[in-house]
């Protein structure tokens, strides 16, 4: 309860900032929006040259692409502060202040900022899903599954960020490691069968970003990978527990960087 109250304060604080820098905020959203739009233009140009990509047509690719942006955007919206943590909080000695407060440090670190720019990602994701809405044969069961899928796919992102952020307890800074792992999410935007075996293996079993977009999306489109939902729940929860474990380990070996 206390946590929800606190979260409200974080968000309110953020909106105050927003009002002060309205233009920045619009530019931020626009920036994300344009980035994603141009990627779609790329796909569109390509599909004017070829009929299908390993059996996937343009609408199907757009659905997968749009789907991938939803968990990405949600994670970006809610937990963006983990980036700041990995890049400077430990090294600048500011982590000490979180330890002094009677609330879980992980909670504070994760949710301290509310990154409204991410609306750009979510918005274009939703637009792309609407555009390719027809290619899915929707049933009530599928619709429920669709909604249930989203929190778990988002959890994969957040867990991975917590894990890589925890590394900075040992190394003081882990922004670059986080960046490498985070960038792997881009592989999930396209059907996994375009990649070779090694990459497919990595994004399915080791850094399971394929579960954030391709596997769910292909289930909705074609009914393939029927068991994806169980694997998704299992993998995301396992991943989350692992990230909590690494965070705990890290925090217990934390030494302040001084001053």
């Amino acid at each position: 309860m206390q946590y929800i109250k606190l979260y409200k304060i974080f968000v309110r604080q953020y909106f105050k900032q927003l009002l002060e820098y309205k233009l920045d905020f619009i530019i931020g959203i626009l920036g994300i929006f344009v980035t994603q739009c141009l990627n779609i233009v790329f796909l569109w140009v390509i599909f004017s040259k070829i009929p299908s990509l390993y059996g996937w047509n343009l609408d199907e690719l757009i659905f997968i692409y749009g789907f991938s942006l939803i968990p990405k955007g949600l994670d970006h919206l809610l937990t963006d502060n983990l980036w700041i943590f990995a890049k400077k909080t430990v090294v600048s000695g500011q982590f000490d202040k979180y330890l002094l407060r009677p609330i879980s440090p992980l909670f504070q670190i994760t949710f301290e900022t509310f990154q409204f720019d991410a609306v750009g990602e979510i918005l274009i994701g939703v637009l792309l899903l609407i555009k390719s809405f027809n290619i899915v044969y929707w049933t009530p069961q599928k619709a429920i599954l669709f909604i249930l899928t989203i929190p778990f796919t988002t959890l994969i992102y957040t867990s991975l960020k917590i894990m890589t952020a925890s590394i900075s307890f040992w190394t003081k800074k882990s922004g670059s490691v986080m960046y490498i792992f985070y960038m792997i999410n881009n592989f999930a935007k396209y059907p996994v069968n375009i990649y070779n075996f090694v990459i497919r293996f990595v994004i399915t079993f080791i850094i399971p970003f394929a579960f954030t977009a391709f596997y769910p999306a292909s289930f909705f489109i074609r009914g393939e990978n029927n068991t994806f939902f169980y694997s998704l729940i299992m993998i995301s929860i396992l991943f989350f527990l692992l990230s909590l474990f690494i965070w705990k380990k890290g925090i217990s070996s934390y030494e302040s960087s001084g001053s």
Binding site: D24, G31, Y54, S176, I180, K189
Partner: protein, 272 residues
């Protein structure tokens, strides 16, 4: 001339020191960027496999492969943080220290950056050159280039670097009122990566759009150097392109001077 350059030598040396301190960080970040190029590579591989012909819009797969990695390499090397440095220093007032020095203050940024780049070109260039030459030998791809093309590529690349630098000086001075530089950077990056040809070679776009983009300054950043590397131009066309690139470089050089002058006139720094 030499003594003029000598004044900037300490800045270049500082740049080299900066990049040696953060070399691991740099490599990690560029490895993350590299993943994007790898995705593009696989995407093109599947595109060529799905196509009924060997060439799409005049590109063979081998050329496309080179295009992806060469343009990636160029985009990393020409990257500059000058717009952010200017923005921050104007905001916190530390730019006044630069302005007080009896040297051209834009050049101080330039030489620091060149120092930073030197090590980075070395760190990245060697594995990439080995990779490219290796793929030439292993896959027996025709070697297009002769001495002329290599020289032209190096010149074109250097112009590309400077054009991007002065363009970002303009951006830095015109956008330091923004706080959220992350968003505006993303916006700029998206437009430029498309208009410079790093997302897709212009040849794939409809003719009209391709022609417009080729006449815009950003084609000079990545598209032209990469196409020169691929040996796509006749010597005559090559010369025209280099002249075109120089034109835009001069344009941004002058523009950056004008914008800097206007911005600095309005600059007020509180305290010290």
């Amino acid at each position: 001339m030499l003594s003029r350059l000598q004044k900037y030598l300490p800045f270049a040396k500082a740049g080299i020191k900066i990049s040696t301190t953060y070399k691991l960080d740099f490599l990690c970040y560029r490895f993350g960027d590299m993943l994007e190029a790898i995705i593009t590579y696989f995407l093109w591989l599947s595109i060529f496999n799905s196509s009924s012909s060997n060439r799409i819009s005049g590109f063979s797969f081998n050329e496309m492969k080179l295009y992806v990695f060469v343009s990636f390499f160029i985009s990393i090397i020409i990257k500059t943080g000058v717009n952010e440095s200017i923005g921050e220093e104007v905001k916190d007032g530390s730019i006044s220290i630069r302005l007080l020095k009896p040297i051209n203050f834009v050049n101080t940024y330039l030489f620091t950056e060149i120092g930073i780049r030197l090590l980075q070109i070395f760190l990245l260039g060697i594995p990439i050159i080995i990779f490219i030459t290796g793929s030439y030998i292993i896959f027996k791809i025709k070697l297009y280039y002769n001495f002329l093309y290599i020289i032209a590529f190096v010149i074109s690349f250097a112009i590309s670097y400077l054009t991007n630098f002065y363009f970002n000086v303009c951006v830095g001075f015109s956008s330091f009122t923004l706080k959220n530089t992350w968003g505006s950077n993303l916006f700029k990056q998206a437009i430029i990566s498309f208009a410079s040809g790093s997302v897709i070679p212009f040849n794939f776009l409809p003719n009209v759009i391709s022609n417009i983009l080729q006449f815009m300054p950003f084609s000079s950043l990545i598209y032209f150097p990469t196409m020169i590397y691929l040996g796509k131009y006749t010597p005559y066309k090559l010369l025209n392109i280099l002249i075109f690139q120089i034109f835009w470089l001069i344009f941004f050089y002058i523009l950056s001077k004008v914008i800097a002058k206007v911005a600095l006139k309005k600059l007020e720094i509180q305290g010290g």
